[in-house]
């Protein structure tokens, strides 16, 4: 009985095992090797160049741009999306009726393709759009939104916040629903009301949701491709040039497969390290409030 179970277990798990062997483990090893070569995707011959790719990447302006742009996106996107999601969640939570309807409606932006939202944003911000005409007419402001290296990243961060806020809000709603009523009652007895109650009871009690949402949001920022690729092409002045754009353009536009892979390796190390740091910070904050 047990033996047949074991065989069946391996059999049922085999799609995953075969897949991982071909599409994960093998490419992973190959990538590690490629990163130390100078292959150009086409030529039959290539050489082993040691750590030259990594040195080159270290001094490359566009790689450095990708590195800093990601943290810039992070600094804009994470506060906006976490704050926005929390507000949406509190709104949903406080409604006595039609909770489901509003959660579903707020979730709808998550279904948008980055390409479609780039088209809409491009239209709304085009030079003669009603919005820009109004700005020029009322305030005399003539703003080249996507041509500004400060505004362009902000616009992309806002687009992504719009897309993800409703989704993350559901995580916060689940968190809010799990706070026991007697915690609030005890806090009220101690004289905590309004903002104080929110700050000292609700926020710390939501720690698990904060943790999940923040880590998801941080992870997302290391994989941005669609929005800047379509909307800004990484510009102006590399201000929206993300890791993925850098890897794509190195490997598939300039055909430096070896160098591109080296950048991908660096990117995955940076991603891993950054997420680890964020986790530690969050865990520390959680521990302060009694979460393990």
């Amino acid at each position: 009985m047990d033996k047949s179970n074991a065989r069946l277990g391996w059999l049922f798990a085999s799609p995953y095992l075969i897949y991982s062997l071909i599409f994960f483990l093998f490419p992973l090893l190959w990538a590690t090797y490629l990163a130390f070569t100078n292959w150009n995707l086409i030529a039959p011959d290539y050489e082993f160049v040691g750590i030259q790719n990594f040195i080159e990447a270290f001094f490359s302006e566009s790689v450095r741009a990708a590195f800093f742009v990601t943290y810039k996106f992070l600094g804009m996107f994470v506060p906006i999306v976490v704050g926005g999601a929390l507000l949406l969640a509190m709104l949903i939570h406080s409604l006595p009726k039609f909770k489901g309807l509003f959660s579903v409606a707020f979730f709808l932006p998550y279904l948008a393709s980055g390409v479609a939202s780039a088209i809409v944003v491009n239209g709304i911000l085009s030079h003669n759009s009603p919005f820009n005409i109004w700005l020029r007419g009322t305030f005399g402001l003539d703003i080249d939104w996507l041509g500004s290296s400060i505004l362009a990243p902000l616009i992309i961060a806002l687009m992504m916040a719009w897309k993800f806020a409703g989704y993350y809000a559901l995580l916060f709603v689940a968190g809010l629903e799990s706070i026991p009523k007697d915690v609030y009652e005890a806090a009220e007895m101690d004289g905590a009301v309004g903002i104080k109650k929110f700050w000292h009871v609700t926020i710390p009690m939501l720690y698990p949701s904060f943790y999940t949402v923040t880590i998801l949001a941080v992870g997302l920022m290391f994989g941005i491709f669609t929005e800047p690729y379509v909307l800004t092409g990484g510009g102006p002045d590399l201000s929206t040039h993300t890791w993925q754009l850098e890897i794509y353009s190195q490997a598939f536009e300039r055909l430096n497969a070896g160098y591109g892979t080296a950048i991908a390796v660096i990117n995955s190390i940076v991603t891993f390290g950054s997420i680890l740091v964020f986790r530690k910070i969050l865990e520390k904050w959680g521990a302060k409030h009694g979460w393990e």
Binding site: N5, A6, L8, G9, W10, F12, P15, Y16, Y19, S20, I22, F23, F26, P27, L28, W30, A31, L91, I92, S94, L95, P96, F102, S103, V104, A105, F106, F107, L108, P109, L111, A112, S113, G114, V115, S117, I119, V120, V121, G123, P130, W162, G166, L170, L171, A174, G223, F225, T226, Y229, V230, Q244, I247, A251, A257, T261, A264, V265, N267, S268
Partner: protein, 276 residues
């Protein structure tokens, strides 16, 4: 006091409704823009004159450009996303069941490896995967878009957690009645996981539908492009024709929205599990 409360509630719903309008306004703007007459696209927030010119232009071409294979791209997207998602569900169902219910050596290890893989930055695999696809001779075929996306780790993870919660007694009883494990999965487990399957399908389908980078890399000829890729390619060249661009965006967005609204009855129940 009661009146005060009612006022508060009314205000609350007004706020909620306003937020709702703001959240869906980009969709509304897109739909209205696709039906607006051309001199009003991006010139009026809410157009007053409507026409089907943008759709006509998109499908049959017109001044400025020839028609592109939008319907073909739409078909490609449907075909690739559906096949991929069904494969992801089928494999995740089996793998999840084996990890949760069939105790075998290595079971634990596989579980941990999956968790590790889920958090591993996938971008490092991009270039070797592309080379692999080229080496297999799958470049510019449906295989290239489907096979590397036939297994989804998140789906496996979700199913494993869900199946762990299913009572063993029920499965044991079925086994004593002589049902094979295949039959148990097909006849008992699958029907019991309807809402979670709906939600997993929705998520993986959506993710597959809006994929850009991979579909852009492995496909080249015009009749193989997915809708998302074709739309991204046309962003520059059709820049002077915002109406048709909105029409194409509607074509890309509407199916997902409809799919979602059809399944939204199961959404809440399934989400409760996904969010745990």
């Amino acid at each position: 006091m009661a009146g005060n409360n009612r006022l508060k509630l009314t205000l609350l719903y007004i706020v909620a409704f306003t937020v709702l309008i703001v959240m869906v306004s980009p969709y509304l703007y897109m739909v209205l823009g696709s039906f607006a007459s051309w001199d009003q696209v991006d010139r009026k927030i809410i157009p007053t004159e409507f026409s089907l010119r943008s759709y006509e232009w998109l499908f049959f071409g017109g001044e400025g450009a020839n028609a592109r294979p939008w319907m073909r791209a739409f078909f490609n997207s449907v075909f690739v996303s559906t096949t991929s998602s069904i494969l992801m569900i089928a494999t995740a169902l089996l793998v999840g069941y084996s990890l949760a219910k069939l105790k075998f050596k290595g079971n634990r290890l596989i579980n941990n490896v999956i968790l590790f893989q889920m958090f591993y930055p996938a971008v490092i695999l991009l270039i070797p995967l592309f080379l692999l696809i080229r080496y297999f001779g799958m470049y510019d075929t449906y295989w290239a878009m489907i096979l590397p996306k036939a297994v989804n780790l998140w789906a496996i993870f979700m199913y494993t957690n869900f199946f762990r919660g299913l009572p063993n007694e029920l499965l044991e009883a079925a086994k004593i009645d002589g049902a094979s494990q295949w039959k148990i999965v097909w006849k008992i487990v699958l029907p019991m996981s309807k809402s979670i399957t709906t939600i997993i399908f929705l998520f993986v389908f959506m993710e597959r539908w809006v994929e850009l980078l991979w579909d852009m890399l492995v496909v080249n000829s015009e009749e193989m492009l997915t809708l998302n890729v074709l739309l991204a390619q046309m962003f520059g060249p059709y820049g002077g024709y915002p109406g048709p661009m909105y029409a194409a965006s509607v074509l890309l967005t509407l199916p997902i929205l409809i799919l979602f609204i059809i399944f939204s009855k199961n959404f809440k129940k399934g989400m409760q599990f996904v969010l745990k």
